[in-house]
Symmetry: C2
Subunit: 332 residues, 2 copies
């Protein structure tokens, strides 16, 4: 295969110095005579020398690789988190390994093992909905978004999430303010902690205003299921004038059903989604939605992970960042 890459030893020989001196130049520690340094740098340049990070991490036991585990990289919200986290760590000189679990706990376990074998310094983890109950590694880990199942022992778990309860609450309240009398929540309840929290927020808003929470329970997060259940529901119940969907994709499904039933949005029925995805923005009928501060969440997570990797016990282990309503001006 491609010729063996050139090592510190080769550089030392070519520059006529010892490997220790070359090492000093690479790491900019210890004293080195200016002309020696210049010479070494020149040789490194000429030979396109790239230090072997494997050997370095191996030697120092300092690992400059970070693992990111997501349930599905092709979902906008997760890919944005991964992108941001990666960018942050890249700037700090870390490599990042992004892993997909496809929402499968077996894949998840394998990912963790693999990351452990690769000796990553830390992990940013968005758990899959089928995640296992026990913590499976001693590698410093920060969870984002979804709450791991073993979360009852909160102390030893760092979680960054947005305020899902508040998101559900605010969205629902906004519709109530706009005059909605009968608001339904479309939610896949067994698809992770976040949906449940959004549902809780919805319930809170409803109950505060004397309304009765109503759930359309979905089997998955596709727009198809939402569409079908919406067709059925709106076919028989003409009083509904608001829908809170716990994610944008669901809102899109509902929207399609409403369009087909010739029910006008938002004049007859208001629809709220969740995530401020590209979808919600560019849908021909744009949908109001709840935006999670992805950048902030990623920054917090990176910050916490760095602390963990430095051996610090963070004072707060559960950070909840605020969400923001995104209203849209729509035609009809």
């Amino acid at each position: 295969m491609s010729k063996k890459s050139i090592s510190i030893k080769d550089i030392a020989k070519l520059a006529g110095v010892s490997i220790a001196t070359v090492s000093r130049v690479i790491n900019r520690n210890g004293k080195v005579a200016p002309e020696t340094e210049k010479k070494i740098l020149q040789v490194m340049e000429e030979n396109h020398y790239v230090p072997n990070l494997l050997a370095k991490g191996f030697r120092t036991q300092k690992f400059t690789t970070i693992g990111i585990i997501v349930p599905d990289i092709s979902i906008e919200f997760f890919s944005k988190i991964a992108k941001k986290v990666q960018t942050i760590f890249f700037e700090k000189g870390y490599a990042t390994i992004i892993c997909n679990t496809n929402e499968d706990y077996k894949m998840e376990r394998q990912c963790i093992n693999m990351l452990q074998a690769q000796h990553v310094g830390g992990i940013i983890h968005i758990v899959s909905v089928t995640t296992e109950k026990e913590k499976k590694t001693s590698i410093p880990t920060v969870y984002i978004d979804r709450e791991p199942a073993y979360g009852n022992t909160k102390k030893d778990m760092v979680l960054i999430e947005s305020d899902n309860v508040s998101g559900g609450y605010q969205a629902t309240n906004e519709m109530i303010k706009k005059g909605c009398k009968k608001i339904i929540c479309f939610c896949p309840k067994d698809k992770g902690s976040t949906h449940i929290k959004r549902w809780d927020g919805y319930c809170k808003a409803m109950e505060e205003t004397g309304g009765k929470p109503r759930l359309v329970s979905l089997d998955n997060v596709s727009e198809v299921d939402a569409y079908e259940k919406a067709i059925e529901l709106f076919g028989k119940d003409k009083e509904i004038d608001g829908v809170f969907a716990t994610t944008d994709l669901i809102a899109i499904g509902v929207l399609k059903a409403l369009k087909e039933l010739k029910i006008k949005v938002p004049s007859q029925v208001k629809v709220f989604g969740y995530d401020n995805s590209l979808l919600s923005e560019i849908a021909t009928t744009p949908i109001a939605t709840v935006e999670q501060p992805i950048e902030l969440m990623s920054e917090k997570a990176a910050e916490m992970l760095e602390k963990l990797m430095d051996g610090e016990r963070p004072e707060e282990s559960h950070i909840v960042v605020p969400v923001k309503l995104v209203k849209r001006k729509t035609g009809k």
Copy 2:
């Protein structure tokens, strides 16, 4: 930080054998007495021993990590490629490092350096539009989708792409068959080789049928620019009855403009996008589009990369896979 992880030496001591024997068990080579093996396996199990892949790769110079470089992981097409490639290699026991370049050649160069320093065995690379002219590494690399700038020396470059020319051609022809007389192409021409090829396909179809190719040149791939240019164009030219957009997002922008101008799709104007993204599927007016075989492209790429890593010179270094039209039934 987390306690030092347990090494082969610890296992050897606990099992009362030498590290060489443990190594043999791990790698299933060399002869080991059954009971010795059993004992060792038991000790490994009890202590949750995970072999240090860093040390292993370091020692053997066999690297079981693959790098994937994409211009923007938050774009559906790229994230799907990354997901598929990662899944394929995961099953073969490789770890994958996914890197974002944000379409920036400086980031790209850094990514390559980093992957080289991490001693990845191979790279799957979707170049950024600002990519540099020279090949920058001797690591086995397979390009997907976009053609690198130094592609004139095709021999030493492996590229997997879908048939963009044919995609443009087929989409345009489809509209011509449906009776369109004046078809316009919306295309960001300086945004990579793929758009240019789609434009070429469009031109071919137009010229074959005696039509004149017309270009609306976009500054970027956002739907905003497409929207604005469409508003202007359709405001003054009422004869246009077809649009070929070189990506779905652009089609969405055009669609918005048409809706605002109360021009009916597809009865008055037909719109074709590209990529069969979720967007095109669930847009309230679904758009016809061209689908690239993402899975197939990923599989081919993985296959070629494995060959390169094994030191084989592949017989064909430029693979073009076919695309498929996705027509939609629409309301109006």
